[in-house]
Amino acid sequence: MTLDLVYFAWVRERIGLPKERVDTAAVTVSGLIDQLREREDRYALAFSDLDAIRVAVDQTLVELDAPLEGVREVAFFPPMTGG
């Protein structure tokens, strides 16, 4: 499965990219994070504290165990600080 990944705020800065396309066999967001962590240290750093990571799939907030089936875009970012 091919996914568009997008990163915001310090997740984007740690990974060094605003977005990228990845191929994955992961079934859930957690599985995808595990795959990314193993790629390079900058991903391992970005995902070192999952309590500080929020996820949206196809622009909807989800939990880390959310399934990836049918998903096109996954966004990773810190807790939001709007307002």
């Binding site: 915001f8 705020a9 622009q59 970012f77």
Partner: protein
């Protein structure tokens, strides 16, 4: 019922000129960039997730409208570089009575604080700092 996400400053007076006609109560909230306690803020950079932001705000607004009898509702949130004193965002609510207008405005603020995809970075002469979310902001959602 309007949601806008934009870089430009907004004019509260212009926004309110035609807002909430026929209502008994209008509440507005305006958020402004404050300097740091120790001073020295050069600007605040507000980042957002363009593909998601508007729909997230619209969902929050729709939820508010199911809870209170709002005759009008407005959310404007800016992004980009904002200097101290600049407006960051505003909400406005119009309802028959004050309780609904106040509660809806507080609800919108509590939700967009923690559920709309915005992030703030403070930039000073000596460095940058991403604003961390406050536990009290997450706790604020529990009352609704």
């Amino acid at each position: 019922m309007t949601v806008r996400v934009e870089a430009e400053p907004f004019d509260l007076a212009l926004e309110l000129a035609t807002f909430g006609q026929g209502a008994g109560a209008i509440v507005t909230f305006t958020g402004l960039v404050r300097d740091l306690p120790e001073g020295g803020l050069v600007y605040m950079e507000v980042e957002h997730y363009p593909a998601m932001t508007t729909q997230a705000l619209e969902a929050i607004e729709a939820e508010a409208r199911t809870r209170w009898p709002l005759s009008d509702c407005l959310i404007i949130h800016r992004f980009g570089r904002l200097v101290p004193g600049a407006q960051i965002m505003m909400v406005a609510t119009a309802a028959p009575h004050r309780q609904a207008a106040f509660q809806a405005a507080e609800f919108l603020m509590d939700y967009l604080k923690s559920r709309a995809p915005f992030w703030k970075k403070e930039v000073t002469a000596s460095g940058e700092n991403w604003v961390e979310s406050a536990i009290k902001d997450e706790d604020a959602l529990k009352r609704w």
